[in-house]
Symmetry: C2
Subunit: 505 residues, 2 copies
């Protein structure tokens, strides 16, 4: 009777799995393998502990586990038995994990035992255009969507900021639950910064700190758009915003844009026919074309919003990067009617993984959106928000921006000259006055998807630009980001493109 | 003609506002004050630059700004004039910020010029019970909801982890956009950890990293609950989950609970009458009562889910803290039918501001929820997720948990003895087998809201427990957290409560 236990149950102390789990696993296989029949009386915990040379508590834990799973039954005063009716529920597998490299191992060999498709019918339908895969950022070279260069960012300062946040002051308060609107330090710091840089006159109650512009658009879509509302966007526009409006159930209307930005006359005509709920605009450098909205159209847009009572969602994603010395203050700075909600971000200031942005709006809207934020993820990243506030107060961000602006301008000039001299008539573009990418139209004879695939083979990322197309319009254009590459890297990237295009001729 | 310019426009280089903004502001006040009439010709930029002793580019920027705002008009070849029709849009105010303490100043004195209530009618209605204010965490003493003690957490290790993430490796990739499901390092690390600690057999494709349990509940509510679906919860339960189910439009049904957890028989009766979509359960230590679900009820619940096809949302918020040496593996570990979605979190492991948690579920559900995550905030905090993975691989988290478990057990024992000896018959409680709080029922003669208010006056936080009440049931009970206070602090806190209660007699 005791034979199987001493023979088959050999706890291995070098195994990272706890001994009680090892014993439990062996007992289960003895039961499923038929060595221990239903109704069989098990040794007492004291007996088995002695047999196996382990502490009695360990055996108690193993038995308890199997009692919970239904493999064993306990009868008061009589002992522990293999259950007469084995559970319909299969217990978790007891496979022993590899001791070495265990945390790094991708456990593809160990799929879950459960039915993987049981909930397939439970998924709330989701807009099909959200299926688009995100690009990879692991190429050696990249002409991306317009990302910053983290190699020049004040990352040491940020690391010191994190450290100070973690290790100084009263940790219970600072590292505890906080205001869903964001860290009070950052909310007290931003009004002055936004006043000086953008002419925004606000208090901390007009601010909701978010994890990047996309969260701003999500909160506004969830909190201010009802199913069936008309939302107007420029064509082309940012697919990330469109995803959110679509999922909120909005009816999307695309308004044309030309060299001076959104065709506001066309929007006005729409307003006469339909009730427009929200207009989404990247006024400073229109996304993806990088063109600023012409001043008279800015005023016309503000007047339209006041007359027709629609929200202007102003996404000022790369306000900090303008190379022509002309200030274009945001629409929000001249918004007397209170119809503008403004989204800004530090994503392009440091790096996309540093996810801090903000919504500027009337206090009642901020409070409303904070309630939504509260049930989504409770609060932002207090450590990061406080660290960013420190970097703003010390002028680190401001110094970094001055340095980056100078560097990116050089990179823009070099890159545009390279496009001109190396790609010649294959491409058509304006030198962007600001931003971090060149909106590049390719000759119709060039298939951008093929070009992107060929470039990928040479370890260069470019986007096919398909996300800027609609069902009816194929633009054959893409954004080529210059800011994240050094001048040498820009040379190498254009050399690769040139090689592919000349090889194709 | 030049008089007002030299007299009134005196740029101040020590003022943090850029000179061009100072000039623009003065010009605007000269216009609104009537000193510069409509149609008045301004000096050329060269002239004004000489008059003011500033660079000509600075004046160009000031003029450009006012042209954009509509205060000035430019006539090609003739010069710049005060606009004949002044803009309906008032420009941003040009008030000069304080140079000192500017970033720390809360700018209450400087309210926005715009109409603050214009969007009041635009707010999508929101469930009224979400209005509850969160407690403050700034008291000297606190018997909180069951929070950890960050003073004993491995914060130096975490700071080193952040630093390593920021400063080593290829920053463009690591600090760029990443997988919405979470950092691949953490997703590769967690399966082994969850296997060893919880018996969960999963791969990285069964994991979605979230910013705490509340985000897990939000994503599941958004992605799997349709308006009108029946969601069953225990009574009492966690108000944070209820907020999410309510906002998703679910019909909430409260199932009774007793000393052995959820009354599964009552749930079974409900299932015979109604189609239940989801059952929310804190199986390990029922929230707020801390009682574990009895083993046979666990099996019964799993069987019910399989038979009646409802989702079990298992919130295992404080799995790591159990003091009785009995393993209670999660329901998810025995879920053959694939009906369990499991939420875990490191919030209680380190501190609430360290917002890392995870959903474990079938791959198709994880992919579905990742699409929602993608449009909410794009991705989690890669730096933090990678740093946590490092702490798991180095065993830092595991060592911390062993230390914390020992310490919290001592604090629990001391605290329960204090409640017994100092508060006597005023309170009624069970010593919790696990978790970080004592579910404490107060004598009906004691008004908990008054007690909480009196305690606050003595700088002690306790919750009134009102969030655990329903419209019909007043429990007069609250959670008193013991884990975040030292033994001396626990003595002080109970002394305060005892003083108030004895003073009331």
């Amino acid at each position: 009777l005791v034979q199987p236990f001493t023979d088959l149950i050999t706890p291995d102390p070098s195994n990272p799995q706890p001994i009680y789990l090892q014993i439990g696993g062996k007992l289960t296989s003895l039961i499923t393998g038929g060595r221990l029949a239903a109704g069989h009386r098990l040794p007492s915990t004291r007996e088995l502990a002695t047999l196996l040379g382990v502490h009695r508590k360990t055996v108690i834990r193993a038995y308890d586990e199997l009692l919970v799973q239904g493999w064993l039954e306990s009868q008061r005063g009589r002992g522990t038995f293999v259950a007469t009716r084995l559970p319909g529920v299969r217990p978790r597998s007891w496979a022993l994990p590899q001791a070495k490299e265990k945390y790094k191992a991708v456990r593809k060999e160990n799929p879950p035992a459960r039915d993987a498709k049981a909930l397939a019918g439970f998924l709330v339908p989701w807009a099909p255009h959200l299926e688009r895969e995100d690009p990879k950022y692991t190429f050696a070279c990249h002409l991306d969507d317009g990302l910053p260069d983290p190699r020049i960012a004040p990352l040491s300062d940020l690391a010191r900021g994190y450290r100070a946040q973690l290790l100084t002051g009263r940790q219970y308060t600072r590292l505890g639950y906080n205001d869903p609107r964001g860290s009070s330090l950052l909310r007290e710091t931003l009004p002055s910064y936004l006043d000086e840089t953008r002419g925004l006159k606000i208090t901390e109650n007009n601010l909701l700190i978010v994890r990047g512009t996309v969260m701003g658009v999500y909160l506004i879509s969830t909190g201010l758009i009802r199913k069936g509302d008309v939302v107007a966007v420029s064509d082309p526009t940012w697919a990330g915003a469109v995803m959110n409006f679509a999922q909120a159930g909005a009816e999307l209307v695309r308004i044309g844009s030309d060299g001076d930005g959104l065709a506001v006359d066309e929007l006005e005509a729409l307003c006469r026919q339909r009730t427009v709920r929200l207009v989404y605009i990247t006024s400073h450098h229109n996304y993806p074309t990088t063109l600023p909205l012409r001043p008279d159209r800015r005023l016309q847009l503000l007047r339209l919003a006041e007359t027709h009572r629609f929200i202007i969602l102003e996404d000022d994603y790369d306000y900090d990067f303008h190379y022509q010395n002309k200030p274009h203050l945001p629409l929000a700075s001249a918004d007397k009617a209170g119809m503008v909600l403004y989204c800004g971000s530090f994503t392009k200031t440091i790096s996309p993984a540093i996810r801090v942005g903000y919504i500027v709006g009337p206090e009642n809207v901020i409070q409303h959106l904070a309630k939504i934020r509260r049930i989504i993820d409770r609060q932002g990243d207090t450590l990061l928000e406080n660290a960013m506030a420190m970097l703003l107060q010390n002028g680190v961000i401001q110094r970094h921006l001055r340095k980056a602006l100078k560097l990116y301008k050089e990179r823009r000039d070099v890159f545009c000259e390279l496009l001109r001299s190396k790609l010649g008539e294959s491409v058509n573009f304006h030198v962007p006055e600001g931003g971090m990418a060149v909106w590049t139209r390719f000759d119709p004879s060039i298939d951008l998807e093929v070009l992107a695939a060929e470039a990928a083979k040479k370890d260069l990322f470019i986007s096919s630009g398909r996300q800027h197309d609609t069902e009816t319009i194929r633009r054959n254009a893409t954004r080529l980001g210059f800011a994240s590459s050094t001048i040498q890297e820009l040379h190498a990237a254009v050399e690769i493109l040139s090689g592919i295009l000349n090889g194709n001729k």
